[in-house]
């Protein structure tokens, strides 16, 4: 029997459990480091102490009020976007699928910019609660992904067609966002500008709270849906003939993925690129295992956003460069690499 000369995949050499543990370890270290870094260095053990309830008053203040929110926000949002990307890549059976490519990120951005334009007054304050912002993002995101589906029509089962329509819709949403930024009465320009590139610097605990509350049911629903991902790995006819209602299932997964991304980007802005890369790296590391893959995707996504935010704080201080810019700069070459590689999986 001929064996192809392929190096053994990582998950076979080390075991999935060990790889996931290493990723968890790296995640914890990076999180602590991200809290430690800033205008003043706080030693890692002090950070750990404060988190566990100890520490002095000033240290507590810096850790809990200044640094923790942005690290938490980056972790939660990064994980949610990566989870969304994981679902999209599996359901489309295409490793180039991501919330950004399918128009979800730009749709959400448009939703938020319109929300800020409509509900701001002259004194730069929102006339309604900021809690509605994720709803606006979700409406924008769902509108975008629905349009992608409606336009691709009967061809929506073809991953390539879907991606092409997604890219087109994303471009339109992006253009409209820019137009509204320029001509619309957006008083909270700073808040809206955060959108165009993505940043976690201005986030508050109350915003994190809203994000978490919205994400919990969505993540539970996504995890429940994930149990049917393996039959959906097959072609349409095969997956349906083993009893999966694929058309309905596919729409459910797209909906949940759009929700995950829109909730996250409602607060941290357009950081879509990690939704492409994190699940892809996770798949390289842990292979096809579903829950390990989801966990690894989420942790890698969290680390990427925490890392990007850390980088802009350390390297560009006192300028606040949006973290989304960093993820895009790192992500774009990787995207090109994926595109140029010999295409093996697309049918």
């Amino acid at each position: 029997m001929s064996t192809l000369a392929v190096s053994a995949p990582a998950e076979r050499r080390f075991g999935i459990g060990a790889i996931v543990l290493i990723i968890v370890g790296l995640f914890v270290l990076l999180t602590l480091a991200a809290i430690a870094f800033g205008s003043t260095w706080i030693p890692l053990e002090t950070v750990a102490q404060v988190i566990l309830g100890g520490g002095e008053k000033t240290e507590k203040l810096v850790v809990w009020q200044l640094r923790m929110p942005r690290v938490m926000a980056a972790a939660i949002a990064g994980a949610a976007i990566a989870f969304s990307g994981y679902l999209l890549q599996r359901i489309t059976r295409n490793e180039l699928a991501s919330p950004g490519v399918l128009g979800v990120v730009d749709g959400a951005a448009l939703g938020v910019v319109l929300f800020l334009a409509i509900f701001s007054n002259e004194s730069n304050a929102l006339t309604v609660s900021v809690a509605w912002q994720p709803l606006a993002a979700a409406i924008g995101a769902l509108t975008a992904i629905s349009l992608v589906f409606i336009l691709s029509g009967r061809q929506s089962s073809s991953a390539i067609r879907l991606l092409l329509f997604g890219i087109a819709i994303a471009a339109v949403a992006k253009a409209l966002t820019t137009v509204f930024m320029l001509i619309g009465p957006v008083y909270q320009t700073a808040q809206a500008a955060r959108w165009l590139a993505g940043a976690v610097n201005a986030i508050s605990w109350s915003e994190i709270q809203i994000m978490a509350i919205c994400l919990v049911p969505t993540v539970l629903l996504a995890a429940w849906l994930a149990k049917d991902l393996p039959p959906a790995d097959l072609d349409d006819v095969s997956s349906r003939s083993i009893g999966l209602n694929l058309p309905v299932y596919r729409i459910a997964v797209f909906f949940v993925a759009a929700m995950l991304t829109s909730i996250a980007v409602a607060f941290v802005g357009g950081v879509g690129f990690l939704g492409l890369i994190a699940p892809h790296l996770a798949r390289l590391l842990v292979g096809r295992a579903r829950f390990a893959g989801i966990l690894a995707s989420c942790l890698i996504g969290a680390m990427m956003l925490i890392g990007a935010d850390l980088l802009v704080r350390v390297a560009f201080t006192p300028l606040e460069v949006p973290a989304g810019t960093v993820t895009a700069i790192v992500g774009a070459p990787y995207f090109l690499f994926l595109l140029m590689r010999k295409d093996k999986t697309n049918g």
């Binding site: 064996t3 995949p9 003939s241 999966l244």
Partner: protein, 273 residues
């Protein structure tokens, strides 16, 4: 024949249109229990569409498919998948999926929310892999298999589904001669040893005539003729359905009818009826 054996499946007035194209036109077809039914016909005659329609895979198909006198439209997706299995024409799975993973997917319709993987599922998977000879390949990845191995792995997946009716859409396409016979012999064994009802779409008319209990000629979205291969392998009928001028002989090895279509460029050396 259809009078003696009660039909497992009755296709009644099956119509399917795509836009202005009528792919299946009020088609009727009995599929006898425990027999091998082979659907044959020229390209685009609707035979693959008919096979998928029997498994209710088309949206907007009109008419009835009766499975033991029950309209399958009343069955749930998983219910139906426990009764009729189907191997697609060009099935595809991720190249990094292992053979065992693929075969285990055949148990999907047998699993429910609060009913995880059971011993019965494991036994069915092992039986399916043994029966198709892929047990030794179970840790191999789909992308590393040869065409024949791949086809056996897919058949194993359909077998693990443990359905009484098995539909296979051109299962021997892209296989060399030896693997074509391996594959069809395996299917015949399922029929003869387990009494399963088999519905096959085959392109090769001589293979169809060799393996069919009931041969069906599908032409322009309708059943043009059905019966035993001897009844259907007639020059006039082949001329009408397949547009070939063919000589019919009896295969001296299997005693089944075979056809030899007359070429237009190469002159015949001997006149046969």
């Amino acid at each position: 024949m259809a009078d003696l054996v009660p039909s497992r499946i009755e296709v009644r007035d099956l119509t399917l249109t795509y836009g202005h194209d009528t792919v299946l036109d009020a088609l009727n077809l009995p599929i006898p229990r425990g027999k091998v039914t082979v659907l044959a016909g020229p390209n685009g005659c609707g035979k693959s569409t008919l096979l998928r329609a029997i498994r209710r895979l088309h949206t907007g198909q009109k008419g009835q498919i009766l499975l033991d006198n029950v309209d399958i439209a009343s069955l749930g997706a998983k219910d139906l998948a426990r009764q009729i299995g189907l191997l697609a024409q060009n099935p595809s799975a991720p190249p990094d999926m292992t053979v065992e993973e693929l075969v285990r997917l055949g148990r999907y319709p047998h699993q429910a929310m609060l009913q995880p993987w059971s011993e019965r599922d494991g036994a069915a998977v092992n039986r399916a892999m043994d029966g198709t000879g892929v047990t030794g390949l179970k840790t191999r990845r789909i992308g590393s298999l040869s065409g024949g191995q791949l086809q056996r792995a897919w058949i194993a997946m359909v077998l693990a589904q443990e359905t009484d009716v098995i539909c296979l859409d051109e299962p021997v396409n892209h296989l060399d001669m030896a693997h074509q016979l391996d594959c069809l012999d395996l299917v015949l064994k399922l029929n003869q040893e387990d009494g399963r009802t088999i519905v096959l779409v085959l392109h090769d008319l001589n293979l169809a005539a060799r393996y069919a209990d009931q041969l069906v000629f599908v032409h322009e979205g309708r059943v043009r003729a059905l019966g035993q291969p001897e009844e259907l392998m007639k020059p006039e009928l082949l001329a009408e359905v397949f547009e070939v001028d063919a000589a019919i002989m009896t295969d001296p090895v299997h005693g089944r009818p075979i056809c030899i279509p007359r070429g237009r460029a190469r002159a015949a050396v001997q006149e046969v009826a």
